[in-house]
């Protein structure tokens, strides 16, 4: 830390700063608690115990508010936390890889790849004449979007390697080109879309966590844990990369290997999130910033803490999104930017005053 004058006596602020993980865990728990109470349906204390009171073999074990709590609200809160964590982590990884605080997972083409696939699915598969059965329709869009996200990252990696050897700047430039291409395809789909398809498309791009369910949550949890396991082994190398590609290579970092892993991890984490929830911007960009402005640039701290900050941000945004206009719902992407951006600016200003950013 670079503060010029050390305080003579550790005040509450410095003591909290020394334990960022505990502070964030406490804030996250508080947010989960608030989120559990918010919503259109009143949940009573008994609903919490309802699943345990049910005897085996019942046809429909839960009903009314207990069903809402266990099958809508809990998975949705879980999804908000996990998606926020996934976006925060992929943001930290991309900013570390590009050594640029302006980088965000979208630069790797994840978001535009998913959006491109989603647009193609909405416009062409739905227009193919045969109405897709309801059960398929539910899986079709997320699956296509996920494939699109992963596909673009794969193509990006290949193309960048082929065109510009192994430089990370080359990756960034190729990413920009692929993003433009994807935007053009989305634009074409927008032009070809019918009125209804256009509206579906625009709501998809605004993002929503309404698709939460326990199986999705389980899959995402497994993915996030696996990613975390791998990330743990990359963070030292990422700290070295902060010195520059050449310097990192000189002290024994396999930049090519590192780059490959970061692309895979960001594609998986961010791709899954985007595929299920539509485009939720801002979190991946902002969460690492918030962390860095408090505890400095050490990736070993920035990566895990960005997950916590991302989780908190998205949970707050989603809780607002689903409870401000009851019984209607506002797309969550609107809230992440609407409230996130001013908050972020205020934070930057505060950090600047303290001489940390």
């Amino acid at each position: 830390m670079t503060s010029a004058v050390l305080p003579s006596r550790p005040n509450l602020w410095t003591r909290l700063q020394a334990r960022p993980a505990w502070v964030l865990a406490a804030v996250l728990l508080a947010c989960v608690w608030l989120a559990l109470g918010a919503g259109a349906v009143q949940v009573a204390a008994g609903d919490w115990l309802a699943p345990f009171a049910v005897r085996h073999g019942d046809e429909s074990p839960l009903s009314g508010s207990a069903w809402v709590l266990w099958h809508l609200r809990l998975p949705r809160i879980g999804l908000a936390v996990l998606v926020g964590a996934a976006l925060g982590l992929s943001g930290a990884l991309t900013q570390g890889l590009f050594r640029n605080p302006l980088a965000d997972p979208g630069l790797l083409g994840v978001t535009s790849g998913a959006a491109c696939a989603a647009a193609l699915t909405i416009v062409f598969l739905a227009a193919a004449g045969s109405p897709v059965p309801m059960a398929w329709r539910y899986w079709l869009l997320p699956t296509a979007a996920f494939v699109g996200a992963i596909g673009v990252c794969f193509v990006l990696d290949r193309v960048a390697r082929w065109l510009t050897a192994d430089s990370i700047a080359g990756l960034l430039l190729t990413g920009i080109a692929l993003n433009a291409l994807a935007a053009a395809i989305i634009g074409l789909c927008t032009y070809l879309a019918t009125d209804e398809q256009l509206r579906s498309l625009s709501f998809w791009t605004l993002g929503s966590l309404a698709g939460a369910s326990w199986p999705v949550l389980g899959a995402l949890l497994a993915l996030v844990l696996a990613a975390l396991w791998q990330v743990r082994r990359l963070l030292r190398a990422m700290n070295a990369l902060a010195l520059g590609e050449a310097a990192a290579a000189h002290i024994g970092v396999d930049v090519r290997h590192l780059r490959g892993w970061v692309i895979v991890l960001v594609a998986l984490l961010c791709g899954f999130a985007v595929a299920w929830c539509g485009m939720i911007g801002f979190i991946g960009l902002v969460a690492p910033h918030i962390v860095r402005s408090f505890i400095g640039p050490d990736q070993r701290l920035v990566a895990p803490l960005s997950m916590a900050v991302g989780a908190i941000l998205l949970l707050v945004a989603d809780t607002l999104a689903r409870s401000v206009a009851i019984p209607a719902e506002i797309p969550v992407g609107i809230f992440t930017a609407l409230f996130g951006a001013p908050f972020f600016l205020a934070l930057l200003m505060g950090a600047r005053k303290r001489g940390l950013a």
């Binding site: 204390a45 809508l72 579906s200 605004l206 309404a210 689903r322 019984p327 209607a328 797309p331």
Partner: protein, 299 residues
Amino acid sequence: MRKLNHVGLHRRACLRAAAALAASCTPLAWGADKAAKRRIVSIGGALTEIAYALGAGSELAGVDSTSLYPAAATRLPGVGYARALSSEGILALAPTLVVATEEAGPPSVIRQIQAAGVPIEVLAAHHRFEGMLSRVTRMGELLGRRLDAQQLTQRLQADWQAARQPVLARKEEGPQVLFVLSHSPNQVMVGGKGTAAEAMLVQAGARNAVQAFSGFKPLTPEAVVAVQPDAVLFTQQGLEAIGGIEGALKLPGLLQTPAGQKRRIVAHEALFLLGFGPRMPQALAALDASLQQVMRTKA
């Protein structure tokens, strides 16, 4: 200290009792509600209109944001736009039935409502009079008002015949009409093949001027000049947004067509004109009358 503790205990006991009471009451309340009366959530302006026309307006518990008619519907709790529904919001209205058009979504929300044990009926949306009649019949079955639905269907058929009468009686070819959907002067879309506007125009004996593409597409001035529409049809909301008839005449290329030169501009309220609800016969009659009127005016 002891006193504080006592208060704390007392409060905790009260809270526990309240929680237990709430827990025991909630399931009862849900059940009682169901038995007492139907609570219907209607998603889609036409379906809401049908529900009111069948006399089931008082059984509606919530509507989506496209349900703008009759005025009473706008005072019901709104569940948001039909494509961005909220499952918890809908379930909070404790519905016994959800009726929705095909456009309702996202699919995950429809699934969740089904999984919650609330019957949800998705009705097909055909841009045809017969499709509207079958929606009325189905709504009658769903709302337990078959007889009302039968009477309404008969009345609608008679009204429809009456509205179609002058159209069928005419010998001369109908006008070429350009349908414009615009919500700001610099974003103008025109309706091609397969749109609800075309369906209404054809029923009114007119021809849709745009046959080159289907759906709504941005307008190109050259295309407007090329198709030479005899009249332009707007939604009321669209015409107001664009600045009335004077604003409409400033649309690029329009003054090079008969429609622009003779100021043949027609506008009707969007849900009335394109809603394909029970006001469809009136909408057809109104559209026909207004088209006939502008075609008679000499510039």
